[in-house]
Amino acid sequence: MELGVKDVAKMLGLPELTIMRWIKQGKIPFSIKKGRYVFDKEYLISWAKMHHISLKEIESSAENNKYQEENITLYDAVKRGGVFFGIKGNNVEEVLRRAVELMDIPKEVDIEFLFEKLIQREELCSTGIGEGIAIPHPRHPIPKLKAMVSVFFLEKTIDFNSVDGKPVFIMFIILSPSTKIHLRLLSRLSFCLRKKEFLEFLKNCKNKEELLLKIKQLESEFDKK
């Protein structure tokens, strides 16, 4: 395979100017085709190996997927995670147990394991952030999971040991494969929850579509920021 100066610069993680200088100084093997500098990929790889230089692969599709996943919006995450009404339970454990059963978890992840991780996090420090809202999440990101946020409206409020002591009526369970995505979703969610209008909306929300629409609307404000 033939590579151009641009590709080689990317693979070596160097500016094109450096590659041009190397060509001039004869430090890198190249050939000229139709007046352009070209590099034979296989030869370049063996050259790099001989000089103990590491080459980066030019962006593959897997990288691309990862990039998309890292730029997930709260709207997409809630759409993926789902909205559930009338969750039964008298304490934190019971509602979390019920919630985990309802969520659409990939087969590779054990539900019991996920539940334990959620409880572990609650034991460390309550995720009740006040105003009747809780944001439970597993203690550590679970790489096998896809990022998602599931919304659970509780049948009756329960004591979540929140910072302001108010009983919780709604839970946003955040699942994410990495810390980075977790923090991204968390900051978007927190932006929405800071809005008085959103809190009022949640208290009376009866419909998934309406909720999603509201989130989309607020998130566009966040992105404009």
Binding site: G13, M50, H52, S54, K56, L124, C125, T127, I129, G130, I135, R139, H140, P141, V163, S178, T179, K180, H182, L183, L186, S187, S190, F191, L193, R194
Partner: protein, 564 residues
């Protein structure tokens, strides 16, 4: 031990001690030469007997047993060990190496094993240099020069070839030509040569010529370099194959060497030329006494390649220098006969001329040391007449064989293990820097159960970018927070109570251990996007290591190595 002339300039001191090392290296080769002569004379009475094909096996058993059980030293021909010591251990070599290989090699070669006495003498000379340097409490740099000096003296005295000794030391052992290196090595080499002349007389080992060299001969020698290149590659590859196969087939060191010796003994029944170090065989060719024809000479070339690969590959103790010369001389003879066959009417320069060139070509290719090849051949044959042709054959043969075998026979083992570290190369500098020197101990550890609110206070009060997160109870390392990664969440007051420090950790940041080699760490930097990595050893956080600090150190390291 302190020298009385300690105040004298370092260089003069090095020259004086270099001369002492030269005496040691010279004596080592004289001793080996004498014991080989003795051994051969002792055995010559039995040479016609039916059981003489067992001699190489017996010799190999004695050699390997002596080396493993009495001297307790490692096998091999020794030169890679000297190179390794020069690159990695500051030239340290064991005292027992001054004699262990000499004795083992005397058994191997006197009994008929196909190997040369040069490498054992080289390691002897080198370890004499190393131990003398230790005696005078010299630093690594000076010790390395004395090791190289000992090696030069050994080669110089065994061949009565002072310049070849210098060239060998600079090319094969040190891998660089610098004027400061040259002084010590040249002195040792000259003294070593003188020592051998005192004890053995000033003879030219294989005097050839005079030659009548025409232009056509010089053109013909280009063709010879193709043959020398091919033979060198076959020898190097066969040696490698025999070594790896015999390691797998027979696990006992002694038994393996015995099997090898037996095979060589059987080959020797049909071709006595392949036995021993073969100096006499070279003489018969160069003096024009070798009467066999084209095919037999070709067979001897192959036979010697096989016998040498077996002897050394199965753990026999000896070097490749002399076998290379034998192969080269017979190959030259073979080529000469081939030329006669093709163009009988031309008055060729003679078999001795081509034999010399063949030796130069093989030495240059196998050792990948062209100057050694060139000087050695001109010195041991006294044939300065042939200089032009020798240069041509050496250089062409070397460049051709580089295409197939990028490393010399001495370097390939080290290169395969990634331990070939030539002076002033990236790997060498990185290997000299120790990771402990590079660790930054300025950091502020935080506990994993700290809330974001409290962590903000820590960030406000400190000036760091990285915060190691430790387990609050065991103090073990959990992860690291890079402030740049979390900047976006720092000012979100709603999150202050709901985020714990451990949730800010970036698990994709790899950790470096104190056992990592620096070049591995550089690779880790290449793959991770961060310029700073945490150093964790046995679960405990040690400090941070950053790219900029490595670069800073690296430059200073390079600067102090420069010669002014």
């Amino acid at each position: 031990m302190k020298l009385p002339f300690n105040k004298i300039d370092d260089r003069i001191q090095l020259i004086l001690i270099g001369a002492v090392v030269g005496v040691g290296g010279g004596l080592a080769s004289v001793v080996l030469n004498k014991s080989l002569e003795f051994g051969r004379e002792f055995l010559s009475g039995y040479m016609g007997d039916w059981f003489c094909f067992l001699f190489p096996a017996i010799g190999a058993v004695l050699a390997v047993s002596f080396l493993t059980y009495i001297a307790r030293d490692v096998g091999g021909h020794g030169v890679p060990e000297v190179i390794y010591s020069v690159t990695k251990r500051g030239g340290l070599l064991r005292l027992r190496s001054t004699f262990s290989r000499l004795i083992a090699c005397a058994f191997t070669i006197a009994s008929g094993g196909s190997a040369g006495p040069e490498s054992p003498v080289v390691i002897s000379g080198a370890s004499i240099g190393s131990n003398i340097a230790c005696l005078f409490r010299m630093r690594d740099k000076q010790r390395i020069m004395l090791v190289a000096g000992g090696a030069a003296a050994a080669i110089a005295s065994i061949f009565n070839a002072p310049v070849a000794g210098i060239a060998f030391s600079l090319e094969a052992i040190l891998g660089e030509w610098t004027s400061t290196n040259l002084i010590t090595i040249a002195v040792a080499s000259a003294v070593g040569t003188e020592i051998s002349r005192i004890f053995q007389g000033n003879q030219i080992p294989f005097k050839g010529g005079p030659f009548l060299i025409n232009d056509i001969d010089i053109i013909a020698c280009l063709g010879l370099s193709v043959f020398t290149c091919a033979s060198s590659i076959i020898l190097m590859r066969l040696l490698r194959i025999v070594r790896s196969k015999s390691n797998k087939l027979v696990s006992s060191l002694v038994f393996r060497a015995a099997c090898g010796g037996l095979l060589v003994g059987i080959i020797g029944l049909f071709m006595p030329e392949v036995l021993g170090e073969g100096y006499n065989a070279i003489r018969t060719v160069i003096y024009g006494h070798y009467s066999n024809g084209l095919i037999l000479a070709g067979l001897v070339v192959l036979g010697k390649i096989v016998a040498t690969s077996i002897t050394i590959g199965t753990g026999g103790i000896g070097g490749l220098f002399a076998p290379c010369l034998v192969i080269g001389s017979f190959l030259g003879f073979f080529y000469y006969k081939l030329l006669l066959l093709i163009a009988p009417s031309i008055n060729w320069a003679g078999e001795a001329y081509f034999a010399l060139l063949g030796m130069a070509g093989i030495i240059s290719s196998v050792l990948q040391a062209p100057m050694t090849g060139i000087f050695l051949i001109t010195e041991i044959t006294g044939g300065y007449q042939v200089l032009v042709s020798v240069v041509l054959v050496s250089v062409i043969s070397l460049s051709l064989s580089r295409l197939f075998e990028p490393f010399s026979v001495y370097h390939q083992e080290l290169a395969a293990k990634g331990e070939l570290l030539r002076p002033r190369t990236d790997r060498r500098i990185l290997s000299e820097l120790n990771i402990v020197e590079l660790i930054d101990h300025n950091y502020y550890p935080v506990k994993s159960d700290m809330k974001l609110k409290d962590f903000i206070e820590v960030i406000k009060q400190t000036k760091y970018h990285f915060f190691p997160v430790l387990d609050p109870y065991s103090k073990r390392y959990i992860g690291i927070i890079h402030v740049d990664d979390i900047r976006a969440y720092l000012f979100d007051i709603n999150l202050y109570d709901s985020i714990l420090v451990e949730e800010l950790i970036d698990p994709s940041i790899p950790t470096v251990s104190l056992d990592h080699e620096l070049h591995e760490i550089i690779d880790m930097f290449d793959y991770s996007r961060d310029a700073t990595l945490p150093v964790v050893h046995d679960g405990k956080f040690v400090g941070l290591i950053s790219k900029s600090k490595i670069l800073d150190h690296y430059r200073k390291e390079l600067i102090v190595e420069e010669e002014i």
